[in-house]
């Protein structure tokens, strides 16, 4: 086996390190087999042409790694895993970027809803649904913007409302992530 094949396979092995061992070894064995066939048929020129056609080991491995991550995330990955996969592909695929941003916004809303419920417990005078002339705030109000005609309408009902809204926003973010990952897998 030529030095070029050996070097390429070593770089490919390193680039495939995030795959399960069996899957990694299978890809390496098949790549080795392909290069050996070309070497047997056309010598060093055949190897060089095949290596050019495989492309850089890291790029070639990337096709398998992306596919594996999308499959793993699609088959029951949690919110963090799904978000990580989308973030990893966000620089290369517009759909991944779009899905990540939408999901992140939904998760941020979920966090904000929990925070508002907590403020309602600690400082009920600051949290609520405030309505007044030129004022509408659902959440935490800046006391300076609360005029004499501003009224708080929800009172303690804000807590159950936020505690229902938070998991709904969380579920929405998760559904967006799942749908995006499934879409990417179909288009991969």
């Amino acid at each position: 086996m030529t030095h070029d094949i050996d070097l390429y396979l070593r770089r490919l092995r390193a680039a495939l390190r995030s795959l399960p061992e069996a899957e990694r070894e299978e890809i390496l064995a098949e790549t080795r087999s392909h290069l050996r066939e070309r070497e047997e048929a056309d010598g060093q020129a055949g190897v060089e042409a095949a290596l050019r056609a495989f492309g850089p080991a890291e790029a070639y491995a990337g096709a398998f790694v992306d596919e594996y991550r999308l499959r793993a995330a699609s088959a029951g990955g949690g919110p963090l895993e799904l978000a990580g996969v989308l973030l990893g592909q966000a620089t290369r695929r517009v759909t991944a970027c779009f899905g990540f941003v939408l999901a992140a916004v939904a998760y941020l809303f979920a966090g904000a809803f929990v925070l508002i419920a907590a403020v309602e417990v600690i400082r009920p005078d600051l949290a609520g649904m405030w309505i007044g002339p030129d004022v509408f705030v659902l959440g935490v109000i800046n006391p300076a913007s609360r005029g004499p005609d501003t009224a708080e309408l929800l009172g303690p009902a804000l807590i159950p409302l936020m505690l229902v809204a938070a998991p709904l926003a969380l579920a929405l973010g998760y559904a967006i992530s799942q749908a995006t990952v499934r879409h990417l897998l179909r288009k991969h």
Partner: protein
């Protein structure tokens, strides 16, 4: 511009081409590639073929097994069509045939005029 368009066209055709080759019998990567790329070729490279084969296998359209025939330079990974792959190939062939006929009518007609 034209190269980007051709690249998209080839990407869509690669899966059908691979399934059609395997419909003629079990084959390993080098043989699949040489069949597809003989003549003008579809434009599938080594770097695109194996990830595509992996995807088709994961999707249940093909299966693989290792074998080392006499005279082979190394053990070969052979692929074969599954029942699901044959169904997919049939559907893709039908879609391809009607698409090609329609395109021939459109493109061919204006060319002949």
């Amino acid at each position: 511009m034209i190269e980007a368009w051709k690249s998209q066209l080839r990407k869509g055709a690669a899966e059908l081409a691979v399934l059609a080759v395997l419909d003629k019998g079990d084959a390993f990567g080098v043989a699949i590639l040489d069949t597809i790329e003989s003549g003008d070729g579809v434009g599938v490279s080594e770097g695109a073929l194996y990830p595509l084969l992996k995807r088709l296998e994961t999707g249940g359209r093909i299966q693989s097994y290792w074998s080392e025939p006499d005279g082979a330079a190394a053990p070969r990974k052979y692929y074969r069509l599954t029942g699901e792959g044959q169904d997919a190939l049939r559907a893709m062939r039908d879609a391809w045939t009607s698409f090609r006929q329609r395109m021939d009518e459109i493109v061919g007609a204006s060319h002949d005029a």
